[in-house]
């Protein structure tokens, strides 16, 4: 793992109408790292991700990915929103959702080809969901839904994965499948940034950490940043091991 920065966020400030959510956040994500983002409820973790991806308006600041603006490299970045933001009643199958990961490579009007379909099927196979490929998405369990999202990110064939609480409310099996995927991606030289909520597994699953509570409290290598003091500074009760952000 190098110490090269792959995502550079400078001076990011965001607000919801008249409520400031994030102030002056400078964050550097190290290339090829598995970086977790933690913080108490309402700390602005999801907002931070959406801000750097240009999904929500920012008041000031900038984010660069591999030295470029997000729009220039959006195909290289796979974002997985919180599953609560998705319209699960939409009439579509698991395979269809995974195929959406190919859209960013297709451009306007063009339909997915047989090759895209093959890539999508392989992505489903990789996370053990092949047998569910024709299943209506509303009939999948929480863990299966999350795995379909991971498969969509795999199908996108990105270099950076940005995930908003992918492990929230999933079964143990899904959790280990997702972590296997992140570990495998790291071996392939990829970077992942994951909002995480479970302090128990934090140090085991990730190697870098960003603690956020409207401002950046601390960031860097897991071993250096995950301290009682930093958690207390972030208002995370300081009760080590307690799952405070849920």
């Amino acid at each position: 793992m190098s110490n090269k920065t792959i995502i550079e966020v400078e001076d990011l400030t965001m607000a919801y109408s008249d409520q400031p959510v994030l102030w002056d956040n400078d964050v550097s994500i190290v290339e090829n790292s598995k970086t977790a983002i933690i913080g108490p409820n309402g700390a602005g973790k999801s907002t931070f991700l959406k801000g750097i991806l240009g999904l929500l308006p920012t008041l000031s600041g900038s984010a660069h990915f591999m030295g470029k603006a997000y729009k220039e490299v959006q195909a290289e970045i796979a974002y997985i929103p919180q599953s609560s933001e998705v319209n699960w009643d939409f009439p579509t199958t698991a395979l269809d959702v995974v195929l959406m990961g190919r859209y960013v490579h297709l451009g306007w009007i063009k339909r997915p080809s047989q090759k895209d379909k093959k890539i999508a099927e392989q992505a489903l196979a990789q996370i053990g969901m092949s047998e569910f490929k024709n299943r209506q998405i509303s009939q999948l369990s929480g863990g299966q839904k999350q795995r379909v999202f991971i498969a969509r990110a795999i199908a996108q064939d990105a270099n950076i994965y940005i995930m908003d609480e992918p492990l929230a409310g999933v079964d143990k099996n899904t959790e280990s499948i997702i972590m296997d995927f992140l570990n495998e991606s790291q071996k392939q030289g990829k970077t992942s940034v994951v909002v995480h909520h479970d302090l128990n597994t934090l140090a085991e699953y990730f190697d870098h950490l960003v603690i956020i509570n409207k401002r950046i409290v601390a960031q860097g290598k897991m071993t250096k940043v995950l301290t009682q003091e930093n958690l207390e500074n972030a208002n995370m009760n300081g009760d080590y091991g307690l799952d405070v952000s849920v």
């Binding site: 240009g54 195909a75 974002y79 933001e85 319209n87 009439p91 579509t92 859209y103 960013v104």
Partner: protein
């Protein structure tokens, strides 16, 4: 899956042929020129509205169509007042402008106030429609308008499909074809946008652009449909076939197809019923047929109420047997 959908299709046709047999088709009516023009107009409109209505229904915004439909009415009256004539194209433009203003106001209010969307829709819908009614009664008694026939204005409230002329059919075609084309061109973008708007944004599909597209094609159809079914009922052309289709199909493209076909079929049967029973209006007859199909589908469709009930009972039985 495939067999299942064949079953779906045959079921719909079954319902149809049952009704048709019951009425025993009157060939004289079917081959009459007036019937053919009216039927062509309503069927094309219903097919396009059925397909495009799936977007707003699946996006959870079906009532916006209803609000726009009502809000288009004052535009019709104002266009009439300016043009002093019942020119369908001018009234169509009036309807579009008025509907667009209403839509912009809805967006503005929901962005800057804490009011719920349904309350916003209610206030826009009633104030615009009220304005239309006031203007209409104003010109009825006004001497400046006494020399022009205003009878047609009433038709834009309740619709008067029986008076569809060739020019109206051309207007319907001129709106329906581009709308469907836009839907086909942006099919995959609409799909991600409806299913997962956040992800869609992250891959460069702009929400504002998609909402604008959705508005343009929806509003065009609403404005054209005003004369056929009227401001009050036009939104059902968009909403009801989509509801039917969602009870049968599990994939977006099939939902669109079924919605479009049931819309078209309802238009045909409704027009036919209103032709053989004098005094029955065409628009409402179409909507009654549409709604009947929707209710039946909600009951017996594979994603309907009965199917859900039996699945649940089976689940409980299986559990208690273990």
């Amino acid at each position: 899956m495939y067999l299942f959908n064949l079953f779906t299709a045959s079921k719909i046709i079954d319902i149809g042929s049952f009704q048709l047999a019951f009425l025993s088709l009157d060939m004289d009516i079917l081959s009459s020129y007036v019937f053919m023009v009216v039927c062509a107009g309503t069927m094309i409109l219903a097919a396009a509205a059925g397909a495009i209505g799936t977007i707003s229904v699946l996006k959870g915004q079906s009532l916006i169509g209803d609000a726009i439909g009502h809000s288009a009415y004052p535009g019709v009256v104002i266009a009439f007042m300016i043009g002093m004539a019942l020119d369908p194209l001018k009234l169509f433009i009036g309807a579009i402008i008025s509907g667009a203003i209403a839509f912009a106001l809805i967006q503005l209010i929901s962005r800057h106030s804490k009011l719920n969307l349904d309350a916003t829709l209610a206030i826009i819908l009633s104030s615009f429609f009220g304005l239309g009614m006031v203007l209409k009664s104003y010109i009825q008694g006004h001497e400046a308008f006494a020399h022009v026939s205003q009878g047609g204005l009433k038709n834009y409230i309740f619709g008067q499909a029986a008076y569809i002329k060739n020019a109206d059919v051309y207007l319907i075609l001129a709106v329906a074809i581009p709308s469907i084309l836009i839907f086909i061109i942006f099919y995959k973008e609409f799909k991600v946008f409806i299913f997962d708007e956040t992800y869609a944004k992250s891959i460069g599909i702009k929400s504002n652009f998609m909402y604008a597209l959705m508005l343009v094609i929806t509003m065009g159809l609403i404005a054209t449909g005003l004369k056929v079914v009227g401001a009050i009922l036009i939104s059902s052309f968009l909403i009801v076939p989509a509801i039917t289709a969602m009870q049968w199909a599990q994939q977006f493209n099939r939902v669109i197809l079924i919605a479009s076909l049931t819309g078209m079929f309802s238009a045909f049967l409704g027009t036919y019923i209103s032709s053989i029973y004098p005094g029955m209006s065409t628009g409402p007859s179409i909507i009654l047929v549409m709604s009947l199909i929707a209710f039946l589908s909600m009951l017996i469709g594979p994603r309907g109420i009965l199917a859900k009930y039996f699945r649940r009972r089976k689940f409980i039985n299986d559990k208690s047997n273990v």
